[in-house]
Structure formats: C-alpha cells, structure tokens
C-alpha cells in the first residue's frame, strides 16, 4: 500500500482495474430459469405432436425461444450496469404461452380429426350394411355388388389408417368409400327409373296373358323377375306360385348371348324335356321371338351391342333351382319338386310371360 501511495500512476491503474471488475460483474441476473422453462415447454409441444398438427403455432413458439435466448446473450455481452433482461424475460414468457397454445391446438386438432374419422368410419360401415342389404335383394346385384365391395375395401383401409393415427389419410379413404357408394346409389336409381318407365308395358302383358287364359280356360305361366316368382295361371286366376332363380344379370332385358340376363317378353313353351335336360327337367321357350329379333337388330344398328354379337337361345324353365341365388345364364330355375308340379299342367304351346316387375298383380 505504501508502494502504491509512493507511485501515483500505479495507484490509479490498480483502482481502475478494481472499478472495471466491479462494472463487468454486473447487477442484473440473466433469467436462466425462464429460459429452461421455455425450452421445456417447447419440448412438450414437440412431443405432443405440435410439429405435425399445429406447425405454425409450434414454429412461433420455437422462434420466440430462440429470440429470448439471443436477447439474454446480447445483454450478457454488455457491461454489467447496462444489462437489462426485462425484454428477454418478456419474450420467454410469450414463448411459454405460445408453446401452451401449440399444445392446445394440437390436442384440439387431434380430437377433432380423430372424432371426425371415427364418426366417418361408423357412418360408412352403416351405409355399406344398408346398401348390401338392398343390393342382395335386387335384380341388379351383379352390377351393384362390385361397388359395395369397393366401398368396403376403402372402409378397411380407413380403419387401418385410423388405428395408426394417420387420420388425414383415413379421411381420404372414407371420402373415396363414400364416393363409391354415391356411384352405387346413382346406378340403383337408374335401374329404378328404367323399371318405372316400362311398368305399364309389363302390366299390359300380364293383363293380356290373364285375359287369354280366362278366355280359353287354359294354363299360362307368368314370371315376375323382381319378385323371383313364377305363377301358374288357370282360367285367368292364380293357381300356384313358385320361387324361382334367374340369370345372374337379370336387372335388364336380355341383349345378347352370354349377357346372363333372363329375357322379358311373351313366349310359349315349344318343347318339354323330361329326360334330355342337364337340369332335371325343362320347358324350352321360343326365345328369340320376332320381337326379340327386331330389338336385337335395332340395338346393333344403334351400336348398343357389337355387330358381331349373337342373339342367343335355349332359354328354358328348368329344375335344379333352390340355390338361393341368381345363377343361370338366362334361364328360369325352379326346384325339382316345383318342376314336377308345373309339368302336370303345362304343355307345349302354354304361354309364358316374363316381366321385370309387377305392381298391381297378383
């Protein structure tokens, strides 16, 4: 100390260094706890899935944490008395709020999308069940079942994706499934419209068949495709009804050989096969008749069917029915027992009228 007092320069330097040490040590403390909290909340948001489900909110929180961190660093670089961490504190407080908001938005988004997917799955499953019931009972099953199956595949895909938490992809699959069912409903409605347009014609065929049977006192057969019934008529009155099975594609008129449709029209029995049929016993019909040939030629002319198409033939009412399904290539199938019964009354020349639908009879 005496040495310092003897040397004023050295005395001044020593006091300057001491003053600088005091200045550099600073007064305000950096908010390290706030920074740790902010980092921890951001990590929570990341773990909750915010990067995926609430990315803008997550990135906002992330940016605020970085800004707060850098602001602390900037203040740390200043001389002690000049440091002010209030801004850094505010930024970090905002970042914690932003992280909490990101977590809330993530939960909300996940809840909504998970709920939406779950509802969508239930709805599609119900719709498919309803359509399957309608399709199974419909003449148009052959044409419509593929749509129901395609929708069901989309349902399974959506269920798998939902289980994996891939909700957006599950919703896309549900949308595809619903669109397929929409196409099914349009087709179903088209078939119904087509039926409605021809109802009066089929009804007139039935009326004429009944009138002729009444007039002659003889027998006739009427096949109602939609009802899957064959009716035995005697003297214009219903004598007996039989369940029957049809061509696998019988929702419309027969167009050509191999289309799987049972023809609609007014026919008669031309041959009775008691031993020579592959399907127990059979009544051969006179398909194609003049009306069928005329329609076939017109369809070719209009390009509805190929010019190379054949009209087909060998349409019968035969046995080996009772399979519970439309399985023939166009014939009408009854059980062997019902064939035996019908053969007691039907002969060659018996009129056979086949309609798609009847509403007023029997």
């Amino acid at each position: 100390m005496a040495r310092l007092q003897r040397n004023p320069g050295l005395f001044f330097a020593a006091h300057s260094v001491l003053a600088m040490v005091i200045l550099l040590s600073g007064c305000d403390k950096p908010p390290t706890q706030s920074l740790d909290n902010a980092k921890a909340r951001l990590a929570d948001a990341g773990k909750a899935g915010a990067i995926r489900y609430a990315e803008p909110a997550y990135r906002k929180a992330e940016k605020l944490v970085q800004q707060g961190w850098l602001e602390i660093a900037r203040q740390n670089g200043r001389l002690g008395p000049l440091r002010d961490y209030k801004t850094a504190d505010s930024i970090l407080a905002l970042s914690i709020l932003a992280s909490q908001e990101a977590i809330a938005k993530t939960r909300d988004s996940l809840d909504r999308v998970s709920f939406k997917t779950r509802l969508g799955l239930e709805d599609l499953q119900k719709q498919i069940a309803n359509w399957t019931e309608s399709v199974n009972g419909s003449l148009a099953r052959y044409k419509l079942e593929r749509f129901a199956n395609a929708a069901e595949l989309q349902l399974h895909v959506a269920q798998n994706l939902h289980r994996r938490g891939e909700y957006d992809a599950a919703l896309t699959a549900l949308t595809k499934g619903n669109e397929t069912l929409r196409q099914l409903s349009v087709l179903f409605a088209d078939f119904a419209d087509a039926d409605a347009r021809r109802l009066s014609i089929w009804q007139s065929w039935i009326d004429e068949t009944l009138a002729n049977s009444r007039a002659t006192g003889g027998y006739a057969l009427i096949v109602d495709k939609s009802a899957h019934k064959t009716y035995l008529i005697k003297s214009g009155r219903l004598a007996k009804s039989y369940n029957c099975e049809l061509g696998y594609n019988s929702a419309h008129q027969k167009l050509l050989a191999g289309d799987g449709a049972t023809p609609e029209g007014r026919y008669q029995v031309v041959q009775i096969k008691l031993r020579s049929s592959k399907y127990y016993k059979a009544l051969l019909l006179d398909y194609p008749n003049d009306s069928d040939r005329k329609r076939f030629a017109e369809n070719k002319r209009q390009g509805i069917i190929s010019t190379r198409a054949r009209i087909g033939g060998l349409i019968e009412i035969h046995g080996d029915g009772g399979k519970g399904d439309d399985w023939t290539e166009g014939c009408v199938a009854l059980t062997n027992q019902d064939m035996d019964h019908i053969l007691e009354y039907v002969t060659a020349g018996t009129p056979v009228t086949i309609v798609r639908k009847s509403v007023n009879w029997p």
Partner: protein
Amino acid sequence: MKKISAILAIFALLAIFAGCSKAPEAEMAAAQASLQAAQQAEAETYAPDALRMAQDTLNAATAAKTEQDGKFALFRSYSASKDMFVRADALLKQASSTAATEKEKVKAQVMELLAQAQAALDSANAAVAKAPVGKGNKADIELIKNDLAGVGVQFGDAKADFDAGKYMVAKGKVEAVITKAQSLMGEIAAAVAKKRTGSAR
C-alpha cells in the same frame, strides 16, 4: 528493462486476445448446414429427441457467440462458442444418421409387406385365371375378378405412397390389400367348388 518487459507483456496479451476474438463464422455455417441436412433427412419425424438435443446445442452456441459479439473487442473470446458449434455440428450429423437408420427400418418393414401383398395378389389372380367357369359360378368369378382389380388399384396407391416416403400411410393401405387378397382366395375356392358340385353360395 522494466519498461521493455511491460511493453512485451502488453503485446503478448494483445496477441492472446486477438487469437480469441475471431468469430467462429465457419463453424457456425457448418452447423447451420448440418441443421438443414437433418431437417431434410426428416429427423423431426424419425429422430426427434436427437434433433432436439442438437438444436439446443446449436442455440446455445449461437447465444454464446452473440454474447461475445456484444463485448468490447479486447475482452471477446469465441473459443467456448466455437467448441459448441463444432459439437452442435457433430450432434446434428448424428441426428441425420439416426433418422436415416430409423427411416430405413420402417421402409424395410413396409417393403416386406408390399412383397407379401404382391405375392397374395399374384396368387389370387393366377387362381381366378384358371378357375373353371360355367353356369352357376360365372357371376361369382366375374365379381371376384372385379374385386381383384379394385385391390390391384389399392396396391398401386400403397406403392405410390411408399415411393413418396409416406411409409405409415403405405403400411395401412397394404395391410388392407393383403387381407382382401387372402379373403378373395377363399371366395375363388368357393366358386370353384360351386362349379364342381353345383351347390349354392
């Protein structure tokens, strides 16, 4: 003599400070590039914890550098922040590597499922192609062929998702393909039996 020693000491001190006062720009740039690479490697999805740790180290390095930037030049020392940037760079590279490994694992799983699905579809298509068709099962076979076509489209969707790197979505779709293809094999067998015996569905 004392004056010369003092001057030499001052110069030595200045030299030391000058060495420590060079900002670690190259190390920072390298770490930033590694961060971008890690993000492109989808480390956020496949190695989120490793990425988070690496990002924290990078942020700490940036903060340490910023702190030194604000100091008077003679009192700056970037050695700590330089070390931190180097460490952050190494961690980010590790995160990229971990992400690539994890992604490959998931990719391999889905590739195996795709192979299973392809085999199931090939079997079903071969079975339906040689199934005897006749009165009684023609409609069934036609419907199965149509369903198989639909499953084939779904398989194509799964492959497209796989090619786009959406492995979890692809996995969900391909599992449905496998299930449906196996179910159709059963339906083919039933249709063939129906043709042989003439029995109902």
